[in-house]
């Protein structure tokens, strides 16, 4: 995985500094929702044909393509299993989180 940008959590002290529109302020960089998961996808790259279907279907944008192969970003993957279901070679296994 590429190293992630480090950010400080933004907390405004005054309403004057809060933007008019509710918009992203990098909050998802520290709000790591992957901890909600209780099963995780594990990709056996030996069976992968690099079709990119898992990348396209992941509703959480948690599959990235690195060096032409899919990599799961466990910081945000919720363990929904859609990637495993859609993978044409069935090389993604959903396994129990160990703790």
């Amino acid at each position: 995985m590429k190293p992630k940008k480090k950010v400080e959590k933004i907390v405004f002290q005054s309403e004057k500094d809060v933007p008019l529109m509710p918009m992203s302020l990098g909050s998802m960089l520290y709000n790591k929702t992957g901890s909600w998961r209780n099963i995780r996808p594990e990709i056996d790259l030996a069976g992968c044909i690099q079709c990119g279907i898992c990348w396209k279907f992941c509703p959480d944008i948690s599959i990235e393509i690195e060096n032409e192969f899919p990599v799961v970003n466990y910081d945000y993957c919720k363990g929904c299993g859609i990637c495993a279901e859609e993978c044409p070679t069935k090389c993604i296994a959903m396994v129990e989180e160990r703790k």
Partner: protein, 384 residues
């Protein structure tokens, strides 16, 4: 240029003169002609807008919100069941500070299935954070749409321009269509402070923790509170250029009135006829027509009504288990004032039953006969 047009087409003309850039709308009786003419205007290129066909009103508003976030001036129109289907997205547009302008034709809510007018559709959107204007003539519709774009974009809050089903939507009147050049001078292109753009990408409307949500709502209310003054200023500027003043309320012969009707929409226009007839009979009547319902024109209402002998609020709507909505609002505006003017609440004209000058005479008789109201709702015209 003077033209004889229907109320629905007055909305379309307002959107064209305001140079709306994106229109996403779904047809519904009695609003359909608004969308028909707008699609023709787009096809004929008299209006350079992207017309997005959608499968529901919910989607129409979603498309408008997205276009508005991208920085486009956006218009839509709906009515009744369509408006209430949008309900979730109405909150989204105001909370997201997207200054969409929408026409709504007041049509009674089903069941019983109705296509005729009353105000329960738009008044049940009261707390969604939209500015609401109620119109009583086709001229006012055109003028209001143009000014609504300016007011909405100045405070980044969406506006609803509201007219009665059939009584206005399908009624033909002479309308002075403002010159495009002058409208362009009055209404410069939309240039929002924040927008969705690839050069500064952002996600809009995402998770907002308790650390900031409260402040977003505080800011929305504070900006809403700026609207009454803004509507006055914008109205004066418009008056200088076009000779017609809009404002928050219309005060008709209220100065010396012993009885003031509080009205809205086309019933507020008929009220003027009622007032004139009553005055001929020696009753000093006046009419305060509320044009802007949200934000509520507290200062104007207090200024005019505290001088009245009696006030009769005429509601073409009802908040079940409470009273007429305008009655509640006027009451809350007057509560705690030194002058305790007796306030009478009347409900009439639901589901498109006509509100005639005779009804105003009946209301005047009932109001003048009592020192104080004995009930919060007096029903006018129920078959009993």
């Amino acid at each position: 240029m003077k033209k004889v047009i229907m109320g629905n087409h007055a909305l379309s003309w307002g959107a064209q003169l305001g140079r709306a850039q994106v229109i996403a709308a779904y047809p519904i009786t009695p609003q359909t002609q608004v969308v028909e003419l707008l699609s023709e205007m787009c096809a004929n290129k008299t209006l350079d807008a992207k017309f997005i066909k959608v499968e529901s009103e919910h989607s129409a508003m979603a498309a408008c919100i997205a276009a508005s976030i991208a920085g486009a001036r956006t218009f839509t129109a709906t009515s009744s069941q369509g408006l209430t289907l949008m309900h979730e997205l109405l909150h989204w547009a105001s909370g997201g500070r997207n200054p969409v302008v929408m026409g709504n034709i007041n049509r009674a809510m089903a069941p019983g299935w109705s296509i005729w007018t009353d105000q329960n559709d738009s008044l049940s959107q009261r707390d969604t954070g939209w500015i609401q204007f109620y119109c009583s003539s086709n001229q006012e519709v055109v003028d209001t749409v143009i000014q609504a774009f300016r007011v909405s974009e100045a405070v980044m809050i969406p506006s609803m321009v509201i007219l009665d089903a059939f009584a206005l939507s399908h009624t033909y009147e002479v309308v002075d269509i403002p010159d495009q050049e002058k409208v362009d001078a009055f209404l410069p292109p939309f240039n929002p402070p924040i927008r969705l753009t690839p050069t500064a990408p952002h996600a809009f409307g995402g998770l907002t923790s308790p650390e900031h949500y409260f402040e977003l709502r505080y800011k929305l209310q504070k900006d809403m509170e700026k609207v009454p003054d803004l509507v006055e200023q914008t109205g004066r500027e418009y008056e200088k250029m076009f000779g017609r003043y809009l404002g928050q309320v219309e005060d008709y012969r209220c100065e010396d009135a012993e009885l003031i009707f509080v009205t809205s929409g086309t019933a507020g226009y008929t009220a003027r006829v009622g007032v004139d007839q009553l005055r001929q009979e020696g009753v000093k009547a006046g009419n305060l027509r509320i044009k802007m319902f949200r934000p509520f024109p507290f200062a104007k209402v207090r200024e005019i009504l505290t001088k009245a002998g009696k006030v009769a609020v005429v509601d073409r709507n009802i908040s079940y288990g409470h009273h007429g909505v305008f009655y509640q609002e006027v009451k809350s505006a007057l509560y705690g004032r030194d002058h305790n003017v007796p306030l009478f609440g009347y409900i009439t004209g639901l589901g498109g039953r006509d509100i005639t000058p005779e009804i105003y005479k009946e209301i005047a008789q009932l109001t003048l006969a009592k020192d104080k109201p004995e009930e919060d709702i007096t029903w006018i015209g129920v078959k009993r």
